[in-house]
């Protein structure tokens, strides 16, 4: 065992993969300690977690149901990171997409399936794009930091949605405040008849490869990454930094909008006023865990979805509140964001000077 750690200690590439694993493991250990301290049965808790996520085919399908919006919103955040932008507005952009998709889904009548569905999807993506492009534009033109602006946009969109769903978009005959059900011609079909898993999952996977292609194989991606790594050099190379900010935020918002559309078109078939996704912060964790690499988003999203899905059973089996998952997740993010801590705990030597991902450029231009 000691030899194994010795190997890890010295081989750098090994470290890049191993540290995330250690981070997750350590968080689970800390979680176990907290569970034990609160008087619950640790074994039952984690057993419930695992079974809840992967125990039966139904559970696995459900995990992938949650994975779908996680992949898309994780991609959204990761894309922003690549341009040096911290998009915390995924929540709001997701809502924008959901609103738009729901509206096109129930209001536009008489279209065949193969037109209505793409129309609704694209409508959602565009809505998310616009909602994301606004803070991008503000950052480009005024230097207003996207962290605050996107959070403000979140709050605005949540209230806007509440207003719209309860008033102009309200289904008068429904027992709870929600939009009317979308027409069947706008449904995202299920993959298997007996499970909730829908084709949005496949769409999400396709988006991963599309994003990867754009980022690493196109001139647009080259520009976006350059702006993210060194704005000054990007300018020197003739790149239009402002334009790239807006485009990156628009794409990021579009991905988030796609996540929202997926939920409406594939899962709920309507938008309730009580729609709370909470995917926004999780998306940040997923992106960090994947180190903003599009391909890494997939395992990262699956892990997070497993945690969320299994939490329910964990609560039933061991009587622990779902917040425990939040705490474990917070620790995972902390360790991922500060790999030094994990290195420090396990005495793994790093290359000197490498401090992990630094995104902060301060507030102003």
């Amino acid at each position: 065992m000691k030899l194994f750690f010795e190997k890890i200690r010295t081989r750098v590439q090994f470290q890049e993969l191993f540290i995330p694993f250690l981070s997750i493991a350590t968080s689970l250990i800390i979680g176990a300690v907290i569970i034990w301290a609160s008087g619950a049965d640790v074994y039952k808790a984690y057993q419930g977690l695992l079974q809840g996520a992967f125990g039966k085919p139904r559970a696995i399908a459900e995990t992938f149901v949650i994975t779908t919006p996680y992949i898309l919103s994780g991609l959204a955040v990761a894309f922003g990171f690549k341009c040096g932008l911290f998009n915390i507005g995924v929540e709001g952009q997701l809502y924008a997409g959901a609103l738009s998709a729901a509206f096109i889904g129930y209001a536009v009548k008489g279209l065949p399936h193969f037109i209505h569905l793409p129309f609704a999807l694209i409508g959602g993506i565009v809505a998310g794009s616009i909602w994301g492009a606004i803070p991008g534009y503000l950052k480009a033109k005024t230097g207003g930091h996207e962290v605050i602006n996107t959070i403000m946009m979140n709050h605005i969109m949540i209230r806007l949605t509440d207003y719209l769903v309860k008033n102009p978009m309200l289904d008068q005959k429904a027992s709870i405040p929600r939009t009317p059900y979308i027409l069947e011609s706008a449904y995202l079909p299920k993959i298997f008849p007996s499970f909730r898993l829908h084709w949005g999952f496949v769409l999400a996977i396709c988006m991963v490869f599309l994003v990867y292609f754009v980022l690493f194989k196109t001139t647009l991606g080259f520009e976006i990454r350059t702006v993210g790594l060194n704005q000054n050099a990007a300018r020197y190379a003739g790149m239009n930094v402002s334009r790239n900010f807006v485009i990156a935020m628009a794409i990021s918002g579009g991905l988030a909008g796609c996540a929202g559309s997926g939920e409406v078109l594939g899962l709920n078939y309507n938008l309730p006023a009580a729609f709370i996704s909470g995917y926004g912060f999780d998306a940040i964790a997923i992106a960090l865990l994947a180190k903003s690499n599009p391909l890494g988003i997939i395992p990262s999203a699956i892990l997070w979805a497993a945690l969320r899905n299994g939490a329910g059973l964990m609560q039933i089996r061991a009587g622990i509140s779902i917040d425990m998952i939040n705490i474990i997740q917070a620790f995972v993010i902390m360790f991922i964001a500060a790999p030094r801590i994990v290195r420090w705990i396990y005495r793994i030597k790093a290359e000197k000077g490498k401090a992990g991902m630094i995104l902060t450029r301060g507030w102003g231009k």
Binding site: T142, I148, H155, S321, A355, M357, T360, R361, W363
Partner: protein, 404 residues
């Protein structure tokens, strides 16, 4: 006339448009409509004819938006913005109060109270940022403090003890932020986000595991204190000198932090670290320990802000009760150019819009509540867009200091 660039042109156009709309609107009010009574507390009420007064405001506004074009002053945009804001708000108040009393004194007093968490949050933020550490975890610190303060108060049975624990917990969370940002050199925005997420999980956990099961679910709230003599002064006495303790502490901190920041050894060193940490290091100042100290002090202030929510306002603790105020505080800090007095002004703007929204709801003003709720957030964005002049942060803000 001075040279006009396109930005001024757009603003003057907007301002003129808004004021013209106000003027037009004033003619829509039937001449025989009842008077609006503007309440001024003990001094009585002032009755104004709604149509006439809105007309006056509109004309004043038009003048105010166009006049600065002819001045040499550089503050053109700010002036026309403030004038238009004043006339717009004034018109809405007069209109909303047609046929009833609109309590101006109450509005201002409520604004001050509602501005408290924001001003405190902004001060917490600037204490950190003046040493160069970005702190977006103010929301999380406030939330945790609100929860812990309330819990302590509930179990011990004494609100002042709760207040103490709220402040303390703010400091402890801040210590974590300092550890992650300063010692572990994590990206400061990520570290702040981590703390916010942790706070949500932690407080939710405490609430569901303990608070919901407790016998009582409410404590009282901190009492209103009237400063002897001063509180008798008409208008000002009610607004400034009759308040709950945390509001007083907020006003005191604004003055205290200003004095400390610009006149003491601690203040000079703090500011130098935020501008040029190497320079401070080379004269023997310990950058790390000062950053830790200031981040912790910021945490204490944020803890105080958190206590405002649970111990001074509602007497209970709800999920996510801070509701984004921590981020609005950051906008106030930027608006206030990292100066405590500026933070106070920024906080007052938000407090005012918040108060307006509440009073409108009480008065059943026919604007949908969700739209009113959006107002503070929209204003934050406008403020951040630098409509009111450029704001420069401390030079080394956000840059971790790495020693060889």
């Amino acid at each position: 006339m001075r040279e006009v660039n396109y930005r001024m042109f757009i603003f003057s156009g907007l301002a003129v448009l808004i004021n013209a709309l106000i003027l037009r609107f004033s003619y829509l009010i039937a001449p025989g409509a009842e008077l609006t009574l503007l309440g001024f507390g003990d001094l009585g009420s002032l009755g104004v004819n709604p149509g006439v007064s809105i007309r006056v405001l509109g004309i004043l506004g038009l003048g105010g938006s166009v006049a600065p074009l002819f001045w040499k002053s550089g503050k053109y945009v700010s002036v026309s913005f403030f004038v238009t804001a004043f006339t717009a708000v004034g018109s809405i108040i007069v209109w909303a109060g047609i046929g009833s009393v609109f309590d101006i004194v109450g509005l201002l007093g409520l604004s001050l109270r509602l501005s408290t968490p924001i001003v405190l949050g902004a001060i917490a933020g600037l204490l950190c940022e003046r040493t160069g550490v970005i702190n977006i975890a103010i929301e999380g610190m406030m939330l945790t403090a609100a929860c812990i303060g309330f819990t302590a108060s509930l179990y011990v049975g004494n609100m002042w003890v709760g207040l103490f624990f709220a402040i303390l917990s703010g400091g402890i969370i801040a210590l974590l932020h300092a550890f992650l940002s300063v010692t572990m050199i994590t990206d400061q925005i990520i570290s702040g986000t981590v703390i916010n997420i942790l706070a949500v999980g932690l407080t939710g956990f405490i609430r569901r595991s303990f608070l919901l099961k407790a016998r009582l679910s409410r404590t009282g709230i901190l009492p209103i204190i009237a400063v002897p003599l001063f509180s008798r002064i008409p208008i000002v006495g009610k607004i400034l000198f009759t308040n709950q303790p945390i509001v007083f502490m907020m006003m005191g901190l604004v003055i205290f932090v200003t004095v400390m920041l610009f006149n003491t050894r601690w203040g000079l060193r703090t500011r130098s670290i935020g501008e040029h940490p190497e320079a401070a290091d080379t004269v023997g100042i310990n950058v790390f320990s000062m950053r830790y100290l200031n981040v912790m002090l910021g945490g204490f202030v944020a803890g105080l802000a958190g206590a405002w929510f649970s111990l001074e306002t509602t007497g209970s603790f709800d999920d996510l009760m801070t509701n984004g105020k921590g981020f609005i505080a950051l906008a106030a800090m930027i608006f206030g150019k990292w100066h405590p007095v500026g933070a106070f002004m920024g906080g007052m703007i938000f407090g005012f819009s918040d108060a307006l929204q509440i009073i409108f709801q009480i008065k059943d003003v026919p604007i949908p509540p969700q739209i009113l709720w959006m107002l503070p957030y929209l204003i934050t964005m406008v403020v951040l867009a630098g409509v009111i002049g450029k704001s420069t942060p401390p030079a080394a803000d956000g840059a971790p200091y790495i020693k060889q």
